[in-house]
C-alpha cells in the first residue's frame, strides 16, 4: 500500500441539517450558549425532523476556550447542554481549522461504519479578552519558539506572505481592498454576518456622523478612497490594514451528518460530501514558497482526486480569508487561478457574487466573522444553503450550484482541510 493509492470513503456521507448562531460580539453568552443556538437552528433545518436521540457522536472544533474563557475540556459540556449525554463528544483542535477537521472526523467516523448519524460543529467565544490578549492567543497557533520571539503576530505572518506576493507577482494593495469590498458586499446580504454593512455604508455612516457633530466632511470620494485613508483604515501589519482583517468574533456552527444510505430519513435534499483532504505544513520561514500554503495544495489535491472533479467544476467556494491576502493565496492554491493571478482576478470581479467564480458568498471570515473554532463548519453551512437554493438575497448561480468547495486553514498554514460537496 502506498500513499499514492486513490483515497475513497468506503461509505457515502451527506449533510442533512445545518445551523449556526449569529456571529458577533455577545458579552452575555458563553460558548455553550452559542452552540445551543446553532443546534436549535440545525434541528429546525432537518426537512423531515430530527429526534436528537438519533445522534450517535459529537465532534466539536474549538481552538482555545481555555485561554478565551478559562474553560478546558469543552466537548462533554456541550454534549450536556444539548441533552446528548452520555454520547462520546470529542474536541478537535487545529487552530482556525478546528471545525473543518471536526467535520472531517465526523465524516470518517460514519465512513468507517461505526456510526450512521453524527453531529460536527465548532465554537469560539473570543470577545471576552482585550484585543492585545486576543492577538497573543491567536499567535500561539504559530511557532512559539521561533516566530513569536521575532515579534510576529497572526496578521504579521500573513502580511509577510503579502509583501512576498506583491514582490513576486505585482499584486497591489488595491487588490486586497477589492476583496474586502466584495466580501462586505456579500456579508451585507447575510443576516448571520457580524459586519453586515458594505464598506460604502460604513463610509457613509461616518460621513453622516461627522456632519451631525459639525465636523468637516471627510474627503472620501468612494470606498477605495476610504480604504486608502490611514485614519479610517489604519495599518495592522503592513500591507494588511484594519479592513483586510477578519474581526474578533463569537459564534457557533454545526451540521448533522448522515450515512448516504440513511440520509433520506432526514431529507430529500441532502448535500453529499464527495471529497475530503487534509494536509499539514511548516512554519512560513521553512516553507519552500512564501506565496503559497503547501498544506492547502496537498489537501486540495486529495479532495479533487477523491471527488473526481477539477477546479473548473467548482461552482462556488468558501475559502479561508482570515486576511484578504489569504483569499488571494487560497484561490491560487486551489487551482482557480494561476499563481500570481488571484489578486488581479478578484480585482476584475471574477470572484464576485455574480462573477464567473463566486468566492465567499457568505461574506467570508472577513465580513461574516471568524470565531476561529466555528469557521470551518460555518463554511459548510454556506455551501449547504447555496446548493439547496436557500441563500436568499446572496444566492449564486440562480440556485444551480451542483459542486462546491470549502477550504479551511489552521494557523498560518500548519493545517489545511478541503471538502468538496455535490447536490445530485
Amino acid at each position: 500500500m502506498t500513499l499514492k493509492r486513490a483515497r475513497r470513503l468506503s461509505r457515502g456521507v451527506a449533510i442533512v441539517g445545518a445551523g449556526m448562531s449569529k456571529f458577533g460580539a455577545f458579552k452575555e453568552k458563553s460558548s455553550r450558549d452559542l452552540f445551543v443556538e446553532a443546534f436549535a437552528e440545525m434541528k429546525g433545518s432537518v426537512d423531515k425532523g430530527l429526534d436528537a436521540a438519533e445522534i450517535e457522536s459529537l465532534y466539536i472544533g474549538n481552538f482555545s476556550s481555555d485561554l478565551f474563557e478559562g474553560q478546558g475540556h469543552l466537548a462533554p459540556i456541550i454534549a450536556d447542554w444539548l441533552g446528548l449525554l452520555p454520547r462520546p463528544a470529542t474536541r478537535v483542535e487545529d487552530a482556525c481549522a478546528s471545525s473543518g477537521v471536526a467535520l472531517r472526523m465526523g465524516i470518517l467516523a460514519i465512513a468507517s461504519g461505526l456510526y450512521d448519524v453524527v453531529l460536527a460543529g465548532g465554537v469560539e467565544k473570543m470577545s471576552n479578552l482585550p484585543t492585545e490578549r486576543v492577538t497573543d492567543t491567536l499567535a500561539m497557533a504559530s511557532d512559539a519558539l521561533y516566530e513569536i520571539p521575532a515579534g510576529l503576530t497572526f496578521p504579521g505572518i500573513f502580511a509577510i506572505m503579502a509583501t512576498a506576493h506583491m514582490q513576486r507577482y505585482g499584486t497591489q494593495p488595491e487588490h486586497f481592498m477589492r476583496i474586502a469590498v466584495k466580501n462586505h458586499q456579500n456579508g451585507a446580504l447575510n443576516p448571520k454576518a457580524q459586519l453586515g454593512s458594505t464598506i460604502q455604508q460604513v463610509m457613509q455612516s461616518r460621513v453622516a456622523r461627522a456632519k451631525e457633530r459639525g465636523q468637516p466632511a471627510p474627503p472620501w470620494r468612494d470606498e477605495m478612497d476610504f480604504l486608502h485613508d490611514a485614519q479610517a483604515n489604519p495599518v495592522v501589519a503592513w500591507p494588511m490594514r484594519l479592513f483586510d482583517c477578519s474581526p474578533i468574533s463569537d459564534g457557533a456552527a454545526c451540521v448533522l451528518l448522515a450515512a448516504a444510505d440513511v440520509a433520506s430519513r432526514f431529507t430529500d435534499k441532502p448535500v453529499h460530501i464527495i471529497g475530503s483532504g487534509q494536509g499539514s505544513g511548516p512554519a512560513l520561514h521553512t516553507s519552500d514558497e512564501l506565496t503559497s500554503l503547501s498544506a492547502a495544495k496537498v489537501a486540495a489535491r486529495q479532495a479533487y482526486e477523491m471527488a473526481g472533479v477539477t477546479p473548473k467544476d467548482i461552482k462556488i467556494a468558501e475559502v479561508h480569508d482570515c486576511f484578504t491576502i489569504a483569499e488571494v493565496v487560497a484561490s491560487e492554491d486551489l487551482g482557480f487561478f494561476a499563481p500570481g493571478q488571484g489578486g488581479f482576478a478578484a480585482a476584475e470581479g471574477a470572484t464576485a457574487l455574480h462573477g464567473e467564480r463566486p468566492i465567499n458568498t457568505s461574506g467570508g471570515l472577513k465580513s461574516k466573522g471568524h470565531p476561529v473554532g466555528a469557521s470551518g463548519v460555518a463554511q459548510a453551512i454556506e455551501v449547504w444553503k447555496q446548493m439547496r437554493g436557500e441563500a436568499g438575497a446572496r444566492q449564486a448561480r440562480k440556485g444551480k450550484v451542483d459542486v462546491a468547495l470549502t477550504h479551511n486553514v489552521g494557523g498560518t498554514g500548519g493545517t489545511c482541510v478541503v471538502h468538496i460537496y455535490e447536490r445530485r
Partner: protein, 142 residues
Amino acid sequence: MAERAFTADSFYTYLREGKLMAARCAQCGALHLPPRPLCNRCQSLELSWVQLQGKGKLAAYTAIAVAPGFMAAQGYGRDKPYCTGIVELEEGPRISARIAGVDAAQPERIAIGTAVRIVFPGDPKGPGDQQGAAMPVLTFTA
C-alpha cells in the same frame, strides 16, 4: 566534548554568546535552521552544530502596528511600529527575525532583497519562555 542538545534552549544560549547556530544532518547533509534533534528529511538523529555567518537578504517583511503583549509593553504599537521579516541566509536557510535599520513607519520604502546582517545580542526583551526567562530576539539590521 558532547554536543549541546539540538533545542531552542541551546539555540538561544548560543545567540546570547554571539553565535547563530544551525544543525547539519550527517546522513543527508540538510542544514536545519531552526535546529532540530531529528532530521525531518531523512529521520536521522545524527546532527552536528554549524555556525552561520549571519549574513543574508530580506526575503519578505511586514511592519507591525498592532503589537503582541511583550512588544506593546516596550512601547511598540500604532505610534511606533516595528519591522519583522524573514531573512534568507547566505548558507540557504530562512528564519523569522526582527529587522533593524529600516524605517517601519514607511514600510512601502523597505525593499525585499535588502542585504542584512545579524546583530548581537539583539533585543534582550523577548517573550518569556516556559521557564519564564526572556528569550533574546534574533535581530538583523539592514
